[in-house]
Symmetry: D2
Subunit: 328 residues, 4 copies
C-alpha cells in the first residue's frame, strides 16, 4: 500500500565501510532536493530502538564526502533481533513522524530490514555498504573499491621488503566468505598465489606451485590469503607448513586487519555512494519498498531484499585465469 | 586471412596513462603462457620505424605492475603518418619475424593501427590506455580510474584551503573533449559546480547558481572545469568574470596539469590492464585482427577499430542529476 | 608586568598550513590540562575585531589532528592594521575576559601581534604555521614538512610522464622568497636543476647545464623552480627560452599551486604542532610575552617576535652541494 | 694509516628501510662526482663473502630515489660472523681493487663493520638505515620518518572504524627496544595511551587511565603499543585483560607489521639519505675510517662506530608530557 512520504530516516549498520558518509550525504541532500525532511539515526538499529535521532539538513553533511567511517556511527544490535526491540523502534519512528527508512549496510542489515518492514508494513530501502562485495544483485558494494586500493598499497609496501630479502610473505586480507578482495587485490598486487574460499587449492598444490615459481627464477613471493579460505584459515600454521616443506625461503605473515575498513573513499566509491543515495530516495518516492539499491552494468537498479540476500558467490573463471597467467 | 602467430610485438603510444605497464606485463606473460615469443617496441610507432626492439620474457616485466608511465616509453610519431614511415616499420617487423602487434594507447594510436594493418594485412590488436575515457566501445579505459583518484585527492587538499579562507576555487582537470573526468571527480570531490564540454552552462547561469549557493549558507566553493569546456577554456578569464560579477568571494585558479597522468595505478586499473593484456593475446590467437579489447558490462570484449574510433561522447543525464542533487 | 592568566584565546591567521588544527588542539588541551579556559577566535584578526568567539574544551578538538586547513578559519585582515580595528579587538578581549592570545601564522601574523601586544600591553605568544619555512628563530615551521611530501609526491607523478616521453618539465613550487621548499623537494624528487631566489643561476648557465645532462645520457629532466626565483618568475617565458635554445626536448610547465597548502599533516608536523601548542601555553604561564615558540636543534624554545621577524634567508651551501652531486 | 681511495664498494645490510635506495644513489653519484669508481655489493655481507659485485655508474641509479626497499638487496649473514667468512670477503675486495666500503644498515651492520675493519685495517664508513631510530650519535636514521608517516596513516584508517563503532583498538608498532616510533606516531595519531619499553606503565594504571578517559566523554580509543613494551609484548593477552577489567568497550587488536618497513620514502628521508651518502664518500676521502655518518642538530657529522653502538635509549620527558597533555 502506498503512503505519502514526508520524512525519511537514515542509518548505517554493521561493519563500517569507506563511502558510507557519502551515501548518507546523498540521502540527506536528496531529501532536501525533494523537499522532504531527513532524520539521522545514530548507531544503527540500536539507536532506532533508543530513539537516538537528529534532524539533518543539506548543510549538516558538508565536508564529509571524503571521510572514512560513518558519522552516524554503526553497531550490531541484539535488541533488534527481538520482537520487543523492533516494536520500540517502530514506536520511535511513529512518534518522530518518520515515514520511511534508508538503511546502509550488509546482509545482516538487510535481514533486519526485511523482518522489520514486513512486521510493521514500514517502507525500507537498503544501500549496500560493505567492503566485502558479498551482496547479491549488485555488481559492487560501497567501500569495496577503496578496500582494494588499501590492500594493494599495503602489499606494494610489503613487496619492497620481500624483494629486498628474498622472502615469501603470506598476506591475509578481509572478505568473509567472498574471495573478491583477495582475487582482485592479488592480481593488482602481482601476487604469486591467491587463496580464496571459492576454490580449494590444497597445500600440496600450493607447495608444488611455489617450487615451480622458484625454479623459474622468482626470488621473492607474495601469497594473498582470503580470511575465509580453507587452508589459509590458520595462516600461521600455513606459514610453518611452507617453511617445513619448501627450502630456501624465509616465510613471514602479515594480517592486514582493520586498516582495510577505513580511509578516505576512492572516487569510484564516492560516486557510487552518491548515486545510490539519490536512488534510495527516488525508490521511496516511487513507492518501492523492501528493495536494495544496486548497480548492475553501470546502471542504478532496485532489487528485492529477498534477492539481495540469497545466492552464493560464484567463482569468476576469467579472473582466475588472468591471475594464473599474469603470475607466470 | 589467418596466419600462425609465433611472435608478438607490443608498444605504447600517445599520452601515457597509469596501468600501461600492467598491460604490457600481461601481454608479455600471456605470450609466455601461450609459448609465444614477445618483443617490446620502444617509443611507440617511432621505435617501430627505427626497429628499436627488445625481447621480453616473463621475468623482464617483474615489479612494474605498480608503476605509472610506461617502461617502453611513448611518443607521438609524425613518420608513421607517412606511407614511407609505415613501410619502414613493416620491414622491421618482417625482419624480426614479428607476426602481430599489440598497441596500447588512445584514438590516435588506433587510427594509425587501422591504416597500418589494412595497408600490410598485418594483425594488430589495440588496448585502450588513456586517462580521458574517451574511446567508444569500452566502458572504461586504462588509467581513467587512477586519474579520478588523483584529481579527487588533489581537490580534497585544495578544499582544506578553500574552507579555511572562504574562497572559491576553479580547478581545471584533463579529459580533452570528454567531461568524464570532470563530472565523476566533481561529484566525488563534492564540487559545487562542474563545467563540461558536453553541456554548455553559460556564464550567467553559473553566476546565478553560485549566488544561490552562497545564500544557502555555503562559505566556500569548488568549481571543477573540464579543459574542453566552452566557458572554462580560458579559466583565468572565467575567474575574473566571477570576481567582477559576484561579491564577497576571492577566486583562485588551480590547473592540476600533468600530475593527472602519473602515479601508481589503482587496483581497478591494474586488474583491468591485466585482463585486457590477456584478452589481446587471446584475440590474436583467435584470429581476430583490427580490434580493440574493451570492457563492457564487466566483461572483456573485442570491438572493431572502426567502432572504437567513431561515436560521440554522450551526456550521462543520471550523473548530471546526481551532481545537481548532491551539491545542493 | 605579570598578570594572572585564566583564559586564553587562540586564532589562526594568514595562509593556512597543514598542522594548524593540531596546534589549536594542543593549545586547547593544554589549557584543559592547566585548568584554564580556552576560547577559539574565528577568521584570525578579522574575528578578533568582530568578537567572533567560541568556547573550546578538550572534546571540541577531537578528530581534527589529521585534518588539513584550520577549523577556526583564517583570513588576512586590513582592519587590524588600523588603530581603530585593534581597539575593537582589544575591547572584545576584555569583554570576554580573555587574558592572553596564542596566534598561529607567519610573519604577517607576528607583525600584527607585536604591534597589538605593545599597544595594549597584552600577552601574545606566536606559533609559526606556514609551509614556507621562512621564519627566523625556528628550524622548522608547521606545515613545511607536509608541503615537502606533497611536492615530492606530485613530482614523482610528473616524472612518470617525463620518463615515458623524454620530456623536460618545469615544476613551480611555493615558498615566497625562501627557496627551502624548492631546494629540499628538488633533492628529494631527484630534480636535475633547482632554481631558488637565494642564488641567481642565470639562463645561460641553466642551458649549459641541461646540455651537459643530455650528453651524459639523461633523456628526461625535472627542473624545480621556486616561485620567488628571478629567472623562474615567469615560468612560461623560461619554458619558451629553453625550447628555443636547447634542441630535442619538449618542455612542459606544471604549476603545483594550492595543493601544496592542504592535505593531512605528516607525523612530523603533527608532533611539532603538538609540542608548540603545549609550549605556547607553558610560555604564557611562565609570563613570557611577545615571543614566538620555535624549535631549535630539536628543542622547543621561545624567541622574541623581533628576532623572529628579522633576518634573511641564508643559502645552505651543504644542501646546494648535495643537490649538485646527486643530480650528476 | 691513510691510503689512496680509487674504488668504493657499497652495500645494504640488516632489515630494509625506506630511503636506502636514495642513500646508495648518493654514494654512487658522489663517487662519479669525485671521479672514483663504485661497486655495488648484493645481499649485504653475504654478497661480500661470495663476491656478488656489480659496477655502478651515475646512470645505474636513476629512478630509484622514490622506491622503498633496496635494489642491492639485504640479508643477515651468519658467515660474516666467522673469521673464515670475513677472510673470504676481504679476498674478494682485494681482488676487485675495492679500497673502501660504505655499509648502510643498523647496529648489527655496524658491529660487523667494526670487527672487519679492525681485522683487516680496511676503511669502512657506515650510514644509519633503519626505521627504528635506535642508533646512538645521530638524531635520525634513514627510514624512520617514513615509518612514522606509514604508522600514522594506518592509525588514521583504524580510527575511522574505532569512531564508527565506539571501540578500543590496540595497535602494535615496530621499533625493537626503542619507543621512538610508538611515542611519536602515538602523538601524531592522537592516541589515548602509548606503551613504550622505556617506561613501564603497569596494567592497573592503564585500566585506570582508560576509565578516566571514558568518564571524560571519550567513546573510542586508540592505544599504541611498541613491540618491545613489557605489558604490550603479548598484545592479545593485554586485549583480553582490558576486556575483562573495563566494561563497555569492545577491544580489537591490529599488528601493523611489515608495511612499516616499505613504501616510497618521505622527502625528509630522501634528503637525509642523500646528505649521508655524500657525507660518507667525503669522510672516506678525508681519511676518516670506522665512523658512522650521523645527523646532529641538522648538521652532518661523523661518529666513531664504538660511540654509535653504545648507549641506551633515553626517555624523552618533554615528548611524554606532550603525549599526556594532548590526549587529555
Amino acid at each position: 500500500m502506498s503512503r505519502k512520504i514526508n520524512k525519511i530516516g537514515v542509518l548505517t549498520s554493521g561493519g563500517d565501510a569507506p563511502g558510507m558518509n557519502a551515501a548518507i550525504r546523498a540521502v540527506v541532500r536528496s531529501c532536501a532536493y525533494q523537499k522532504l525532511e531527513c532524520v539521522g539515526v545514530f548507531r544503527g538499529y540500536e539507536g532506532l530502538i533508543e530513539g537516538d535521532f537528529k534532524d539533518l539538513d543539506a548543510r549538516s553533511v558538508k565536508n564529509i564526502i571524503n571521510r572514512g567511517g560513518t558519522f552516524l556511527k554503526s553497531a550490531r544490535s541484539k535488541g533488534f533481533r527481538t520482537k520487543e526491540g523492533r516494536q520500540k523502534a517502530y514506536n520511535h519512528l511513529v512518534k518522530a513522524n518518520i515515514d520511511a527508512l534508508v538503511v546502509i549496510g550488509g546482509d545482516g542489515t538487510f535481514t533486519g530490514a526485511l523482518v522489520f518492514s514486513e512486521e510493521f508494513d514500514f517502507p525500507v530501502v537498503g544501500i549496500p555498504g560493505t567492503i566485502d562485495n558479498d551482496i547479491n544483485g549488485t555488481d559492487f558494494t560501497i567501500g569495496y573499491d577503496t578496500a582494494l586500493n588499501t590492500v594493494v598499497e599495503a602489499i606494494d609496501k610489503i613487496r619492497d621488503t620481500a624483494n629486498s630479502h628474498n622472502r615469501l610473505f603470506l598476506v591475509e586480507v578481509m572478505g568473509r566468505d567472498a574471495g573478491d578482495i583477495a582475487l582482485n587485490a592479488g592480481i593488482g598486487a602481482g601476487a604469486e598465489e591467491i587463496l580464496i574460499p571459492e576454490q580449494d587449492m590444497g597445500k600440496d598444490r600450493l607447495i608444488d606451485s611455489l617450487r615451480r615459481s622458484k625454479k623459474s627464477g622468482k626470488t621473492s613471493s607474495i601469497i594473498v590469503v582470503s580470511e575465509g579460505d580453507q587452508i589459509g584459515k590458520n595462516i600461521f600454521e600455513l606459514a610453518k607448513y611452507i617453511e617445513d616443506n619448501l627450502e630456501g625461503y624465509e616465510v613471514r605473515v602479515s594480517v592486514l586487519g582493520h586498516i582495510q575498513r577505513g580511509g578516505s573513499p576512492s572516487c569510484y566509491d564516492r560516486v557510487l555512494a552518491s548515486r545510490m543515495g539519490v536512488g534510495a530516495v527516488d525508490a521511496l518516492l516511487n513507492n518501492e519498498h523492501n528493495v536494495m539499491i544496486g548497480i548492475v552494468h553501470s546502471k542504478i537498479v532496485s532489487v528485492p531484499f529477498e534477492d539481495a540476500l540469497k545466492g552464493e558467490n560464484e567463482l569468476d573463471l576469467e579472473l582466475i585465469r588472468v591471475a594464473d597467467i599474469t603470475s607466470i
